[in-house]
């Protein structure tokens, strides 16, 4: 009964677009820098999903290679970003993203 409808590549791309949109709204709305970082991870994962879906559709392994490199760079980015957040929070424990306007000097 259910085998009549198979999810096509477009379904995965639309799901990825929705996930990217949720991540964007999260970055714009949340004030805790840690949660903003998690929302950036959501956006990266949305792009990874569309890469893998198109790699299958186009029979090209390079889509999966791109996802591999995105994951490596995301890991490095999280390490550096969390280091920055730790060194900011060490000075002001309840910092939100708004408080970074103090960097204007």
């Amino acid at each position: 009964m259910l085998s009549a409808v198979e999810p096509t590549t477009s379904w995965y791309l639309i799901l990825s677009a929705v996930l990217f949109g949720i991540g964007t709204v999260g970055v714009l709305v949340r004030r805790n820098p840690l949660v903003m970082f998690m929302c950036i991870e959501l956006m990266l994962n949305a792009v990874n999903l569309s890469f893998v879906a198109l790699a299958t559709q186009l029979s090209n392994i390079n889509g999966q290679v791109a996802v591999f490199f995105v994951m490596v760079v995301a890991a490095a980015e999280v390490v550096v970003g969390l280091g920055i957040i730790v060194s900011i929070m060490r000075r002001r424990t309840d910092a939100t993203a708004d408080d970074l306007s103090g960097l204007k000097g």
Binding site: L19, R30, N45, A53, N62, A76, V80, V86, S87, T93
Partner: protein
């Protein structure tokens, strides 16, 4: 069958993503992020990207989320944020309009362009009983031949990130910035 997998994984992905955005407690947001990452890994498996699914679970759910939780614990910011106040006027409606518009534009592009990514013919090598590691072989052949330069540069990037983080996280007493 594939439809059932897609629907369940999509529910995991979207439920987790909404949880990350709406939960006030950062620990709960991190747990919702794990749900999303596992849903994405399920979708990787259904696209025969077995290696990437394993890396997704190990690196993202295993390492990155644990790093988030460590930082939450270290900084003691696990008390809930008050989400009822809106610090900047009209920020949330504007963000929703912007995000919704972005999603609408991408979906319109996908729907109008879906004829253009017709299958190139020939399937990707996927795992079978005879060669259970076909996906890893294909991936490795690409990474270590055509993309070997990018692969080597990646190691430099990781080294720079590690050294940079250590320098940043040190308390530099000599400069008077530490407490």
């Amino acid at each position: 069958m594939e439809l059932v997998v897609f629907v369940l994984a999509a529910a995991m992905v979207l439920g987790g993503a909404l949880g990350v955005v709406t939960r006030a407690n950062p620990v709960h947001a991190a747990m919702s992020l794990v749900l999303t990452l596992f849903g994405i890994a399920v979708m990787f498996v259904s696209h025969n990207a077995h290696f990437l699914a394993a890396v997704q679970v190990i690196v993202y759910a295993g390492a990155i989320v644990v790093l988030f939780l460590f930082v939450i614990m270290l900084l003691g910011v696990d008390e809930s944020e008050d989400l009822s106040v809106e610090p900047i006027a009209k920020q949330r409606p504007l963000a929703l309009i912007l995000g919704g518009g972005l999603v609408a534009i991408i979906i319109a592009a996908v729907v109008t362009g879906r004829e253009n990514f017709a299958s190139a013919g020939g399937a990707l090598e996927s795992a079978t009983l005879e060669s259970p590691d076909a996906n890893i072989r294909a991936l490795a052949r690409s990474i270590f031949s055509t993309n070997v330069f990018a692969f080597e540069i990646t190691s430099v990037l990781l080294l720079v990130a590690v050294v940079g983080t250590v320098v940043m996280a040190r308390r530099m007493k000599s400069l008077g910035t530490g407490k």
